[in-house]
Each structure stands twice: as structure tokens, then as C-alpha cells.
């Protein structure tokens, strides 16, 4: 597309759900546009840097396309409201950053337990606590996986560009609905605030995975809201559809009724974990550069993958056989791919640069005895290609 036809700024009042065309857009806005393209009906959020642009963008855009935007009183309210809207059939969404993500943790567990699909964007900033609110971090990686109490399955995407903010947010909605789980878009401040070309395809080309609904009419026979199919995912009936569902955060049986036994609990929690774990091959997404003959494999995600990409090119120019594996899904982690790499016997070492003190490196170390080096900064600045190159060389 020529520069003349490229849209410089998103028109705020357009009634089009999908802004087909080429745009110059920050990652936060691209994420919001991805949600709209995916069919977002309900956004409940609370302002927090560096995610606020997502809420501001949707405040303008969502009501115009027929959805509802609510600024809640806090992040506890945001997550609860999007779960309620999801229970009523909405594709629902919130966006936050570290402190808000922490506040949402309890009801992320409720989403997992009630199996209410929802999408949560976390534009990561330097943490812990208030940290550096306007500066980059990647330190909510393990919190995204394990932050709420108990065992449960989730999916987390990690975009490296505004274009991916758009695309992976769409994937997040489809994955949430497909498996009835909370899904995270783990952005970071750099990716959220950087502006790049974002190409939005025609509406008909936006992938859409619908929720699996009941196969019987309401009242025809008793609907069991938690009777799972062979894929471990139960069909969902929404409030107002006539199925008279009961949902609870308590351990429950197929009727949705509280079931206070160890057996019921064990069976339910295994299913909540397995429905993601056993579908990992369908969910996992990653991209590779020059990995096939690489002796040194760099594993990087989010904004750090951009530096890593440059570092790998620089190292190749020096004759170092190295490559980049870039997970687009951090959870599930592409562990099968790493196992296959290991069986080929070419890889001699891994380098995992990340803007935290080694969170995803633990996953790699779990899979291999080979040397795995981290390049770690606690947050506030990107890792440079030169710094990553130095570790590759060493």
C-alpha cells in the first residue's frame, strides 16, 4: 500500500468494526483494534500506565460499533465485570499493567473455575510494586502463569510489534472462547507505545472461533453446564438463554452444583489444566530465524525479541552459528519445539535475554542440561543488540 493511502491516525468516530487498511499505530491502539476486529462487546477497565491508551481508544471506538465501555472503580471491579459480561455472552476484555494485574488475580481463578472466557491485556512495566510506571518491564511472566491460587490452565501471548498486538489479540479471543479460559496478551511498555505500520485485513479474513453452545433447546432436557465433551471443554449457555445454569467458584459437579469431595475436586482441576495442556500443540505459536543449523539458540519475546533479532544477524555476520526462537505463546511454552531441537544435537547452548531476573529462563533450564545463559535487567530499559551479541559471543 502506498504512503498516500496509509491512514495516519485512527478516525475516532468511524462505525466500522474492522479498520481494513494500512495504519501507523501504537501497539496499545493496535491491541484495541484487534479486540474490536475479534468482536469485542464489553470492556471494563481502570486507567493504568502504560495500558491506558487501550481503554481510551476503546472508549471512543467501542460504543460506536455497538459495544459497551465501562470505566470501573478499580481492577477488582474490572475483572469481575468482564466475567459477568462473558457469562451473559459478551466477548469481554480488560487492559491493565502490573499493579492492576495483581489485583485481578483472584477473579482470574474464578474465570478458570467457572470457565468463563475473557481476555486480559497486561502492558508490562518495570516492577515489583509501583516500580517504574512509564518504563518497560517483562517481569509478569510467571505471575501470568501462576498468579492466582491453585492449579488451572491459561494461555498467554507475547506480541513483539504493533502488528502482532493486533493479530495476537484476535487469537486471544478465539483461544479464550475455544477453551473457555482466561487468556492474556502480555505486552510490554515498548511494544505498547511504539508506533509502526499495522495492516488490518478485510473483515471476512479475521479468524473467528465461536463459542460452543448447548446442542439441545432450553428446557428440552436437562442441560449440564459442566458436562465436558471429549475435548474436555463443556458447551456454554449464557445468562438469559433459558438454560438456568448455576456457576460457582466452589468445586462443582457437571450440574454446576457445589461438590465438596476430594474426588470431585481432583477430577475438575485435572480437567481445567488438561484442556490447555493436552491441546498445547494446537495453541503454541512461535517464530524462528536461522535456528536449523544454530549452535547457539537465543530465546526472546516481546520487545526483547527485536533486539535479539538484530543481535543474531550481527553474530551471523561474524560467522557465529546462532538463531532466534521467538515464542508468540509464552504459555503454553513451546517446549515440544525445544525438545525436538535438542534431539537433533546441533544446539550447544541457549541464551535467554529478558527484562526480568530470569523468569522464562527457568522454563528452558527445566527442559535441558545444556548451558543456558540469561541476560537480565530488572526493568526500565530495553536490552540492546550489542549486549545480547556479547553474550552470544562469549
Amino acid at each position: 500500500m502506498s504512503a498516500e493511502t496509509a491512514t495516519k491516525q485512527v478516525p475516532p468516530q468511524t462505525a466500522a468494526r474492522v479498520l481494513t487498511g494500512s495504519h501507523f499505530m501504537i501497539g496499545d491502539h493496535a491491541c484495541a483494534e484487534g479486540a474490536l476486529a475479534a468482536g469485542l462487546n464489553f470492556f471494563g477497565g481502570y486507567p493504568i500506565t502504560p495500558s491506558t491508551e487501550i481503554a481510551e481508544h476503546l472508549a471512543r471506538r467501542l460504543p460506536v460499533v455497538g459495544g459497551r465501555f465501562v470505566q470501573m472503580e478499580d481492577e477488582l471491579g474490572s475483572i469481575a465485570a468482564i466475567l459477568g459480561a462473558s457469562a451473559a455472552g459478551a466477548r469481554s476484555f480488560t487492559a491493565t499493567s502490573g499493579p492492576g494485574f495483581s489485583l485481578m488475580m483472584e477473579n482470574i481463578g474464578l474465570a478458570a473455575m467457572m470457565e468463563l472466557p475473557c481476555v486480559i491485556a497486561n502492558v508490562q512495566r518495570a516492577s515489583p510494586s509501583t516500580g517504574l510506571p512509564t518504563m518497560v518491564g517483562q517481569s509478569d511472566i510467571l505471575q501470568a502463569r501462576w498468579g492466582s491460587h491453585g492449579d488451572y490452565g491459561i494461555v498467554a501471548y507475547s506480541p513483539s510489534s504493533p502488528q502482532e498486538c493486533f493479530e495476537l489479540t484476535i487469537d486471544a479471543f478465539n483461544t479464550a472462547d475455544r477453551y473457555r479460559i482466561p487468556v492474556f496478551v502480555l505486552m510490554d511498555e515498548v511494544v505498547g507505545h511504539m508506533a509502526e505500520r499495522v495492516v488490518i485485513p478485510a473483515a471476512a479474513e479475521i479468524p473467528h472461533v465461536p463459542r460452543k453452545g448447548p446442542r439441545t433447546a432450553p428446557g428440552a432436557e436437562r442441560f449440564l453446564p459442566y458436562a465436558a465433551d471429549d475435548d474436555m471443554v463443556p458447551p456454554i449457555a449464557h445468562a438469559g438463554e433459558g438454560y438456568k445454569v448455576h456457576m460457582t467458584g466452589l468445586t462443582h459437579d457437571e450440574r454446576g452444583y457445589p461438590a465438596g469431595t476430594a474426588e470431585a475436586h481432583n477430577s475438575l482441576v485435572h480437567r481445567l489444566v488438561d484442556k490447555v495442556r493436552l491441546h498445547a500443540a494446537d495453541i503454541v505459536a512461535f517464530e524462528e530465524q536461522q535456528v536449523d543449523d544454530a549452535e547457539c539458540v537465543v530465546i526472546a519475546y516481546g520487545c526483547t525479541a527485536r533486539s535479539a533479532n538484530a543481535a543474531v544477524d550481527l553474530a551471523r555476520a561474524e560467522g557465529i552459528r546462532c538463531g532466534l526462537l521467538r515464542p508468540k505463546t509464552i504459555w503454553p511454552f513451546p517446549e515440544d519445539r525445544i525438545r525436538r531441537l535438542l534431539t537433533k544435537g546441533i544446539v550447544k547452548r541457549f541464551v535467554v535475554p529478558e527484562i526480568n531476573l530470569g523468569q522464562l529462563r527457568r522454563e528452558v533450564e527445566r527442559l535441558t542440561q545444556l548451558p543456558t545463559e540469561g541476560l537480565n535487567h530488572a526493568g526500565g530499559a530495553m536490552l540492546t543488540p550489542a549486549a545480547i551479541l556479547e553474550v552470544i559471543r562469549s
Partner: protein
């Protein structure tokens, strides 16, 4: 074996179809008032003339939070304090639904207090029934935001020294369209208040006083559940439309103070429709 007389009258209870009979027996203690509240809500659903499929019940955590589990409409037993924002999400996404929140004083006014004042401020289209039994019953009698000064609880062995919330006053001050207070003795008036809430748009709040003989009554020498209901009967004063809500706090321990009941507020204000 049924006698002919019993067979003649062995009809279903008028609210049976609103109850999940397969969940019975329930978990409430003897003398607890929650069952009466659930019955009043079920009556209101049938009398509302609105298809039960359009009714939704949301609750939080605690004994009162279990109410949603016994009602045969789409029902959601959420997390502690978060029933209101969860219900708001339902009501905003599908304005055709009649969404009622049933929860306890601790759930709505302590851990969920921020959501309470903001739902009222927005005039969210929700009917809220707060079962006030003056303590945390399920966890064994700890004091909460409605426990009267001087009352005892496991976390206030010397008696409460903090001023409790006066919930109707709080609801009115923060913008509710409808505010009432009844007790489980006043079943008809309570049911009518809930019915009125179902008719109205906006944030409608009904506090209903309920005995908790196991955790609160025993510790505060209020006797059995029935004794506490008798106390309500003796001390209640009905004053519909009362305007001095600030002065109508409840002190169930000080036997000199009347308990003022009524439908206090019924105003028209634009309901929250983002």
C-alpha cells in the same frame, strides 16, 4: 402413607419451580433467616410476571452468598465482595435481564464496599438484597461493618468499639434510586420491596435483618432465631418515606433503641446505560 386429605392438597409449592429442589437440604442453620429471604425473592420472581428466564441471581461469598445456589434461574456464586461488578457486567451487556444480587453485610459493605458505593453512584440497573445478620456467620461469628457497638464477636471479645454502617443511609447518600429496610418477619413488605426493585430501573437496595443464632445470637444473648425475630417485632417501627436516614442506624444490643423499617427512598434517576 398419605391420607385422602393430604393427597387432595399434595400440590406443588407455589415457588417450587423457582427453587432448585435437587439442591435440598440446604446448608443453613436452624433459626437462620436466609431461607425466608430466598422465599421472598422467589415469590417476587413469580409475582413480577417476568419470565424467570429473564431473571438472574448473583451472589458473593458467605452464608448469604449461598442463596444463588438454591434459585432456579441463571445464577452465579462469585468471589467475596465481587458480586456487584460481576452483576453489573451481566446487566450492562444484556439490559433485558433483571439482575438481583443477594449477599451478606460483610460481602457487600466490607470487602465489596467500594463496588457498593460506585454501583449506587452510577445507578447501575441492579436489585440488591443485603441480608444483614450483623456478623460473619459462615466463618464463625467474627464482627463486621454492621456489628453494633458493644456487640461481641470472636474478633472482638471485648465488644465492638467501631461505629457500624447504617446501610440505607449509605445507599441513599451514594445515589440509590430505591432504598428499603425490612426484617425476615416482614415477609410481605420485604417481597413487595423486591418487586418494586424489579419494576424500577437503577440501583435498588433492600436491607433485610436476619437472625444468625449460631454465630451472633448466642454470643450476644439474643436467644434462638425466633427470639431475635420477636425482638424485631417488639422494637420495629415502620416509617415508609422516612427522610432522616442518618438517624436510623440499628443498635440491636441496646434494647431501648427502635429499629426503623420501611421503603425509605423511591426516586427517579437515569439508570446506568453506557
Amino acid at each position: 402413607m398419605n391420607t385422602p386429605h393430604q393427597e387432595e392438597f399434595a400440590v406443588v409449592h407455589p415457588v417450587d419451580h423457582i427453587m432448585r429442589a435437587d439442591r435440598l437440604p440446604h446448608i443453613m442453620c436452624a433459626g437462620c433467616g436466609i431461607g425466608t429471604v430466598v422465599h421472598g425473592y422467589a415469590r417476587a420472581i413469580t409475582e413480577s410476571g417476568i419470565d424467570p428466564d429473564r431473571h438472574v441471581c448473583v451472589s458473593g461469598i458467605g452464608c448469604s452468598g449461598r442463596a444463588a445456589g438454591y434459585i432456579n434461574v441463571d445464577s452465579y456464586h462469585t468471589t467475596h465482595g465481587r458480586a456487584l461488578p460481576f452483576a453489573l457486567g451481566i446487566a450492562v451487556h444484556n439490559p433485558e435481564l433483571i439482575v438481583t444480587v443477594i449477599s451478606g453485610d460483610g460481602d457487600l459493605a466490607a470487602i465489596g464496599g467500594n463496588h457498593f458505593i460506585h454501583a449506587a453512584r452510577r445507578n447501575a440497573n441492579l436489585n440488591v438484597i443485603c441480608i444483614n445478620n450483623f456478623n460473619y456467620g459462615m466463618t464463625g461469628g467474627q464482627v463486621g461493618p454492621t456489628t453494633p457497638v458493644g456487640a461481641f464477636g470472636t474478633t472482638a471479645p471485648q465488644g465492638v468499639v467501631e461505629q457500624p454502617f447504617n446501610l440505607p443511609h449509605l445507599a441513599q447518600a451514594t445515589g440509590a434510586s430505591f432504598v428499603a429496610r425490612w426484617t425476615i418477619l416482614h415477609v410481605r413488605q420485604f417481597t413487595d420491596a423486591v418487586l418494586r426493585s424489579m419494576e424500577k430501573n437503577g440501583f435498588c437496595f433492600t436491607e433485610v435483618l436476619s437472625p444468625c443464632p449460631t454465630s451472633f445470637g448466642r454470643r450476644n444473648k439474643l436467644g434462638e432465631g425466633l427470639d431475635e425475630v420477636e425482638l424485631y417485632r417488639q422494637r420495629c417501627r415502620i416509617e415508609n418515606g422516612a427522610t432522616n436516614l442518618a438517624e436510623l442506624g440499628i443498635d440491636i444490643v441496646d434494647h431501648e433503641q427502635p429499629i426503623t423499617l420501611g421503603n425509605f427512598v423511591d426516586i427517579e434517576r437515569p439508570a446506568f446505560q453506557p
